[in-house]
Symmetry: C2
Subunit: 333 residues, 2 copies
DNA sequence: AAAATCTTCGCAAGCGCTTGCAAACTTGTT
DNA sequence: AACAAGTTTGCAAGCGCTTGCGAAGATTTT
């Protein structure tokens, strides 16, 4: 059984309140009394019971990390840096994997409302927007969004400029002299995906290349999706000379299909992927990709939520991070 | 401000204790009283404050997931299934990434001792053994180990039979008629690695192939490690005809080196990897691997710790799961 | 040296819940 | 009709901590 405040007070020969004030660096304790108490605390390795502390102060120092699928691309990296930042500020992360299950989602979002956690971070994906909204409308629910965006309601968010990413990728291909660039993407109702499309279009416009609807292949974000996309594209009248693929799995499938078709990358088709997972680096040929600042994403999210909890101002409610182009073999001239 | 027990009691016109008993399905509440209370609870969507509940019952329904590096291979998969299982039993996982930092490790392990969490799961890696021991010696610290093993002290553990994995991989290569099988592995002081070596040796013995120390390449578990391993092996007098690689990253590096050297897989060298990450499937050629039952690992770990918490017996203190061989191109005849 | 001010400290209530115990109420038995 | 036995409910203490407020002590002021 761990020591309690009472025990420390008894040992030190002072009242519990004095010990409490000493430990929490609050005024109202004499210098030598404080030192004596701290000495005893150190000696006995006393650590206050967070439950009791939380109950009294109405805070848990817990953060809910709500994510549809923990195994998402780059998520471990993001989460790792999130945990680190949170931890340094004295917070712990609790995992809430929703599996895209509406009920679980709701339960988890409730954690905040029920004062079980001090705040929540929603990471990526298709978390039901109305759930979020309902939560957000309860004024004091603290919430930060990472790599996703809420509609109709303003919630502190940190995300990557996917339009910029799409732009970078497309421009890179255009700069290689390619003009018929196919875009293989996921469902366009996903904000992240549609932004990439925007960037793609912007790039074409800047280079005076006409946009051709045919070259946009929407499929599901999977390996098969990528695989099939290639054969779908091969059916159109004028073949593309380059591919911009918005997702890792898609890229894998696509490159497999290309090779299967007996074509060479980058000889016949240049390919640019999205997301600097290890996969894109080991695939053959190594993929040129738009890389997202994963660590920064995680760190900022943690910083944001902690600031919110402490009633500190946030610089930018929607913080947009710049992606970066990593050039490898799959797009060399 | 959420409703409290008191509020519900007032609405129902009964004492708090009655409400508490009704909610917790305890005896001593009349049927219609109970129903009436539950009705009100539902209607107001009341959820007890876990902090207060925890304080009174001395339990938090929190589990610490202690892991050296969250981004480890297959960990997201394990964690996902762990979270699911824990959650179904009413527990939440809190992330504790130690970064192999001894101080953090200690702090996190303390969470258990300080009654901040009801139990802890240590996942993989090189968590300092003496830390664990010290913790384990405190009788009532609840701890489960996943994919690692404690020395000198018996702690409930669930892990994969790596010796079996090594055996399967090696036998598979032997069955292809290969006789000079190199083993590329991580540091042998890692129990997981040394077990694979044991399996390898056992397989050789069963097939009457002499063990040759030269063919064992110990390196660090990284891509470069794998890359360099190949060139180290090429210096020995008699070249191998097959490789058993104990790790994903290692396998990537090794295959790169092999291709770089102008050799073919599986033509010149057959390769078998370990751990069925997506990487092994997308690499060229697709890797034959020993796959670990990741989901089961996570689920069992959660089940174990929850059983411990509830003072239930555990079938086997050390639960060993069977790996499985997935045959792909890299080892075809 | 007494009064006024500041500092240091302890008392006690409260955070929201659980639980042992006794009071009140049922029901069954003779 | 009276009592035993069982059931249902409420009282109150306690989990370990924080914090407002007043008491005591130390320090300064006139």
């Amino acid at each position: 059984m761990p020591l309690t405040l009472k025990d420390i007070a008894k040992i030190a020969g002072v009242a519990e309140s004095t010990v409490s004030r000493a430990i929490n660096n609050k005024p109202g304790v004499g210098a030598q009394t404080r030192e004596k108490i701290m000495e005893i605390v150190r000696e006995h390795n006393y650590q206050p019971n967070q439950l009791a502390q939380g109950l009294a102060k109405r805070e848990t120092h817990l953060l809910a990390l709500i994510v549809a699928d923990l195994t998402g691309p780059g998520y471990s990296e993001i989460i790792k840096s999130m945990e680190k930042t949170a931890n340094q500020a004295g917070y712990q992360l609790i995992i809430c994997n929703t599996d895209n299950n509406l009920a679980k989602e709701k339960t988890y979002l409730n954690l905040v409302g029920q004062h079980r956690v001090d705040g929540a971070i929603i990471l990526g994906g298709t978390l039901a927007n109305n759930n979020i909204m309902k939560l957000a409308l309860n004024q004091d629910e603290l919430l930060v969004l990472v790599n996703c965006l809420a509609e109709e309601v303003l919630i502190p968010t940190v995300l990557v400029d996917n339009a910029r990413g799409g732009y970078l990728a497309t421009v890179h291909l255009l700069e290689q002299g390619l003009e018929k660039i196919a875009l293989v993407m996921g469902p366009a109702n996903d904000f992240l995906e549609s932004e990439k499309l925007n960037g793609y279009q912007q790039a074409l416009a800047d280079y005076n290349i006409p946009f051709r609807e045919q070259l946009i292949i929407k499929t599901n974000l999977s390996r098969e999706g990528g695989y099939n996309a290639f054969f779908r594209v091969m059916k159109i009248d004028e073949l593309p000379d380059g591919f911009f693929v918005t997702n890792d799995l898609l890229a894998i499938g696509l490159t497999e299909a290309i090779k299967m078709g007996g074509y060479l990358i980058p000889g016949d088709f240049a390919v640019v992927g999205y997301g600097d997972s290890i996969i894109s680096a080991v695939i053959n040929p190594a993929l040129t990709v738009v890389a997202e600042p994963l660590q920064q994403l995680g760190r900022l999210a943690a910083e944001y939520i902690i600031k919110l909890i402490n009633d500190q101002a946030i610089e930018e409610v929607i913080r947009v991070l710049e992606p970066e182009l990593i050039i490898r073999e799959s797009s060399s001239p």
